[in-house]
């Protein structure tokens, strides 16, 4: 009895654990033949968790649809889709380690890129080393794609494709706008897009009266906003993620700041931003890479944009935003490339991805020589009546720009 209490119990537990691990390993090996494994390193906890979870929803929706249709077809045989998730806790160095671990230990076939330009760029060094085709669902900065990599693709067009049409719309429809103030989160994408805005503003004859960065995690922006208010810009352009922008918007209202135009990127594209900001979201302008109002008839698994929106709504009871749609698109593109390659050979799939020239629910997809998509026309929109109303492109325009943000 003494043996049971002191030494034997841990031994028995240990044997049971080893047996269980062995059984689960053999079970997964038995199934591995009919499964294609996609690695998805994501920030599921930490400051970027809201964005990471959105990306996960997109992948899950695609995997569910692909498996419902029997899986991915290669040479007449159907392969089920399995997504291997790993949480890198919003920590970029850990995203690199996680990506390497997925390739060397988890035996994934293909990879989805980490969230955001910074982490996607860092992790791409590993996937390139092992020649694993990777599609980044949330990386737009050109610095990610200027490394000469062959195996990295991205579904967001460069940042200037967002700021250029926005500036032109404001210039043509709000002639009183002469001065712009830019405030950016000190992070790769938010800063890069703010710099594009600065360029675009100057090129269109606007005076940039303020350009500053705020540190990640800043809670109080009152001093910064007071200074911007004193400069009386007609256009206030602020970048960051949902939390930053909600906080800044609330503090702008507190300070009774008013402007002809207030643009925020990338919060207003998300439904949770619109719900949280409530009345203060009204008339905010923004731009993103996709919008549920688009009407594309695609050849991918989702077919049309409206079908994607319907399927998403059925699964998550909310409307999809561009982050979720882009993640689902990455899966759908892999599916097409694998089926066209007729093989799981990484080089063949990579070549098929590079050759893609198709229309999807997300829009036309064609990658440039650097791997970044160059076929999209990102929509500009404005929150009107608690709904994002598309102002551009003309083909899907839903309303006119309204001036004045209180």
């Amino acid at each position: 009895m003494l043996c049971l209490k002191s030494a034997c119990l841990p031994v028995i537990l240990g044997i049971a654990f080893v047996a269980l691990a062995g059984w689960s390993a053999s079970a997964s090996l038995a199934a591995a033949d009919d499964v294609i494994r996609f690695g998805a390193p994501l920030p599921l906890t930490g400051p970027l968790a809201p964005e990471g979870i959105k990306q996960q929803q997109g992948y899950d929706l695609w995997a569910e649809q692909a498996n419902k249709a029997g899986g991915i077809s290669i040479g007449g045989k159907k392969y089920k889709v399995e997504i291997v998730y790993a949480d890198y806790q919003s920590n970029t160095p850990r995203a690199v380690q996680t990506t390497e671990q997925m390739i060397t230990q988890d035996n994934i076939n293909f990879l989805f890129g980490a969230f955001g330009s910074g982490a996607a760029k860092a992790a791409s060094t590993v996937s390139e080393k092992y020649k694993v085709p990777t599609i980044a669902a949330a990386a737009s900065s050109s610095q990610v794609y200027d490394q000469g990599y062959k195996y990295l693709f991205g579904t967001y067009t460069p940042n200037d494709t967002l700021t250029a049409p926005l500036t032109q719309i404001i210039r043509s429809q709000a002639p009183d706008v002469k001065k712009v103030a830019i405030l950016a989160r000190n992070d790769l994408f938010p800063l890069a897009i703010a710099q594009e805005m600065e360029k675009s503003g100057k090129a269109n004859g606007l005076e940039v009266v303020y350009f500053e960065k705020y540190a990640i995690g800043t809670l109080d922006h009152s001093a910064t906003l007071s200074q911007i208010k004193s400069l009386a810009p007609q256009w206030i352009f602020i970048t960051g993620y949902i939390n930053d922008l909600l906080l800044i918007r609330k503090q702008m209202v507190d300070q009774q700041m008013k402007a002809t135009v207030v643009t925020m990127i990338a919060g207003p594209a998300y439904q949770d931003f619109i719900e949280s900001a409530a009345q203060s979201a009204e008339n905010l302008t923004s731009a993103s890479w996709w919008h549920p109002a688009e009407q594309y008839a695609g050849t991918d698994i989702f077919g049309s944009t409206s079908n994607f929106v319907k399927l998403f709504h059925e699964k998550y009871k909310s409307d999809p935003d561009y982050g979720q749609a882009s993640a689902a698109l990455c899966g759908a593109l892999f599916q097409i490339a694998i089926e066209r390659a007729g093989s799981l050979d990484k080089d063949k799939v990579r070549d098929e991805l590079a050759k893609l020239d198709i229309v999807t629910f997300f829009g036309p997809v064609k990658f440039g020589a650097n791997g970044q998509i160059n076929s999209l026309e990102p929509p500009v929109f404005q929150i009107q009546g608690s709904r994002p109303i598309v102002l551009f492109p003309q083909a899907i325009k839903q309303g006119e720009l309204k001036l004045g943000v209180n």
Binding site: G46, K213, A223, N243, Q256, D272, A278
Partner: protein, 288 residues
């Protein structure tokens, strides 16, 4: 006029910082425990305010009355059952224990509330008042007044009540306090309970102003840490002075050097204080 605005902003924010830090300062000063769970207590208090407002429409001002005893009991039990077991161990042990507890509480909050950001939006909103172009949001103003009231109550407890005097006595000289018949373990638990209660109440007030997420706990903890070093440990006036100084440095720094350097400046000041005046603005030498 915007200079006046920056100063008013700093004054209001400084009081809020003091409110964030005062419980942390009390626990650090009296127990010599760097309580890393403090930030998560603040966030939990914010969730309490948010949850009660969303589900039962209970105003955050009333939630203060509920949060204080609830968090006191939570803190008291934590100290009695866990921390008192290692309180005499080197500071690294208590630091590790509170770090572990913080991980558990913070991840539990991520699990139950998700990492999404919530916002307590009063209906109707309280708006702002303006005087000669200087604008102050009413919710911040009331939160500031409440923060000052809380620090005032703590001051009175420490000065006037028997238990408060015992806390001060333990802080000044633990061994002498034991010789005078003070039940130190009980005083430790009460001090920790008070610290937790203040953190919970601070969370209720922060819910009115800042978004609520488990991810903000480290920011609150960082602010509390800096305020304590600047103001001095364990004293009410020290926390207030530290909070005001930090807010002023951040406000002025942000205005003249850009917002990305506001934090850099505040941490540079922290290092200067650690080197030149480790006891803080109002702390007494020997208690740093």
């Amino acid at each position: 006029m915007w200079v006046a605005q920056v100063l008013i902003n700093a004054l209001v924010l400084g009081c809020l910082y003091a409110c964030i830090a005062i419980g942390f300062s009390l626990v650090w000063g009296v127990l010599n425990v760097i309580n890393l769970i403090h930030g998560s207590f603040i966030v939990l208090g914010a969730y309490l305010a948010w949850g009660l407002y969303q589900s039962l429409s209970i105003s955050p001002w009333y939630v203060l009355v509920i949060a204080a005893p609830l968090f006191f009991i939570l803190g008291y039990l934590l100290q009695r059952l866990l921390l008192n077991r290692v309180i005499t161990a080197p500071v690294l042990v208590t630091l590790t224990l509170t770090f572990g507890l913080d991980l558990i509480l913070n991840n539990a909050m991520i699990y139950f509330f998700k990492a999404d950001y919530r916002k307590l939006t009063l209906s109707p909103p309280m708006g702002s008042i303006s005087l000669f172009d200087v604008v102050v949001p009413v919710d911040r103003l009331i939160a500031t007044a409440s923060a000052l009231a809380l620090t005032g109550v703590l001051y009175l407890v420490l000065r006037r009540l028997r238990v408060g005097r015992a806390i001060v006595a333990v802080r000044l000289d633990r061994d002498a306090a034991i010789l005078m018949g003070v039940d130190v373990k009980s005083i430790y638990a009460i001090a920790f309970g008070l610290g937790a209660a203040l953190a919970g109440c601070a969370g209720v007030l922060m819910a009115l102003i800042f978004p609520i997420s488990p991810l903000t706990s480290s920011t609150y903890l960082g602010k509390a840490f800096v305020v304590c070093v600047l103001g001095g440990l364990g004293s009410v006036s020290g926390a207030l002075a530290g909070g005001l100084l930090l807010a002023l440095v951040e406000g002025v720094g942000s205005t003249f050097f850009g917002p990305s350097h506001a934090t850099t400046l505040s941490f540079a000041l922290l290092i200067v204080f650690l080197v030149v005046r480790p006891q803080g603005l109002l702390g007494r030498k020997g208690f740093e």
